[in-house]
Amino acid sequence: MIWVDTIIQGILLGGLYALFAAGLSLVFGVMRLVNLAHGDLIVMGAYLILVLVTLLGLSPFVAVFVAMPLMFGLGWALQRFLLNRTLGDDILPPLLVTFGLSIALQNALLEGFSADSQRLPTNALTTASVEIGSITLGVMPLLTFASAVLVIVGLNQLFYRTEIGRAFRATSDDATTASLMGIKPANIFATATGIALVIVTIAALYLGLRANFDPNIGPARLIYAFEAVIIGGLGSLWGTLFGGIIIGVAQTVGAAINPEWQILAGHLAFLIVLLVRPRGLFPRAND
């Protein structure tokens, strides 16, 4: 029974990783851009929520809705004015610019908030748990997982049911022809990154509520997100959720065997999938 519990905890943890990964997956899907500052943007989102909570005395669950439009604007501007200039055939500029951004952002956060770890204020709800049979589930992990599923359902609706979603897919296929349809690729890319940062804000909420965070933990979040995306198969959002679950389960099972093996077990699961299915478990057909 202890193993069932471990695996269920792992699945729920996978929801958090899927939230980390969904924005990365979206941006890659639309413009083939891998943002190496993605993890640091999540951490920045957590600090933004913290500032709103502290300054305005809001609950984190309210603050996140204030943070979302700010993060959307930041993402839009970041893409429109900086990252769009790096897109092209050469892979070096986007990689090196986002890597520079990652280091700059990390150190800006260090300068602004020091290296001390922080946590978003929790209340009765965030520490509550429910019992199902003999298994105790935290409300927080359940909420995280539900949010991940909602985000992925929402993104799928956006992609396949709306006009902007059609424009995302068309621009991803062929930006020049898309412009002949009256689409401005530069704005489409900016909107995609804006939406990615809205998801990042949701991920940041749970990051900050569930555990301590400090300016240096961004790169590790990027790596988990990346592993979830690759395991799921590039461009598949449900695959990304599944990839997150695999990493989560591997980590909790690893930690159950030996606490020092938690992170290592997640990485090894990723390498095994890479070995067996190099294109991930649910690869997109045309890529």
Binding site: E163, R166, A170, I183
Partner: protein, 235 residues
């Protein structure tokens, strides 16, 4: 007064100059054909007019407004739609989504909508939920034309719509052109197939090596004139 006009239009690909001062004109409700051999600059001309290649503002005018400096999406929203060479359907979109995306930059309530496009090409209605790229070449060409029509453009640019298609399929597609004209669009049709072009056009421009070498109504041009303008007088 012409609807669309190029004036001393030049175009470059890096160091290579593809157009040398091209002047053409399209009047309201007119169909103009542009013929010429491979590499004559026909497609470059289409790309310049549609804004895929940027030009000097004054070198292209639409409705007497200079549009040469505008981007492709801006020109499209003014009412200049293009059926690009090679059809260029979006593989991630179904047939119907490919048609719908044609209205992204320009919402209108003209003759053309999903229903009238399906009436024009009934086969597309049957295959509306297939991915665009699962269709035959001719059907894909129908989607590309329908996609451009969806925004009820005032000018329709058709780049090599018969290229790579079987003669019987080409005939099917050209059957649609009178209906498109009747619905009110002015058209520029780029063709390598001279007979097809002469059959639908009110006027013809012939291009060679980045220049217009001949122009006139189909009746006024002799076979020999066209031959010389197409291949150069030395042949």
């Amino acid at each position: 007064m012409s609807l669309l006009q190029t004036k001393d239009l030049v175009a470059h690909y890096g160091d290579f100059q593809a157009l040398f001062g091209v002047d053409i004109e399209l009047n309201e409700a007119e169909t103009v054909a542009i013929i010429g051999a491979n590499g004559a600059g026909k497609s470059t001309l289409m790309r310049s007019i549609s804004g895929v290649l940027r030009n000097d503002a004054a070198s292209v005018a639409f409705d007497n407004r200079p549009i040469g400096g505008q981007s492709a999406d801006e020109i499209m929203s003014l009412g200049v739609a293009m059926v690009p060479e090679g059809r260029k359907l979006f593989p991630s979109l179904t047939v119907e989504e490919n048609l719908l995306i044609g209205t992204y930059g320009r919402k209108t309530t003209g003759h053309w909508n999903l229903k009238t496009v399906y009436d024009l090409f009934p086969i597309l209605a049957e295959r509306r939920n297939n991915p665009g790229t699962a269709l035959s070449g001719g059907q894909q060409q129908m989607v590309a034309i329908g996609r451009a029509l969806m925004s009820n453009p005032r000018v329709l640019l058709c780049d090599e719509i018969s290229l790579g298609l079987a003669p019987v399929v080409i005939k099917d597609i050209y059957k649609a052109i009178p209906q498109i004209k009747a619905a009110g669009a002015s058209m520029i049709v780029v063709e390598q197939d001279i007979a097809q072009a002469l059959a639908v056009a009110d006027r013809v421009y012939c291009m060679m090596e980045g220049r217009v070498t001949l122009s006139g109504t189909p009746d006024s041009l002799s076979r020999e004139d066209i031959h010389n303008a197409y291949f150069g007088a030395s042949h």
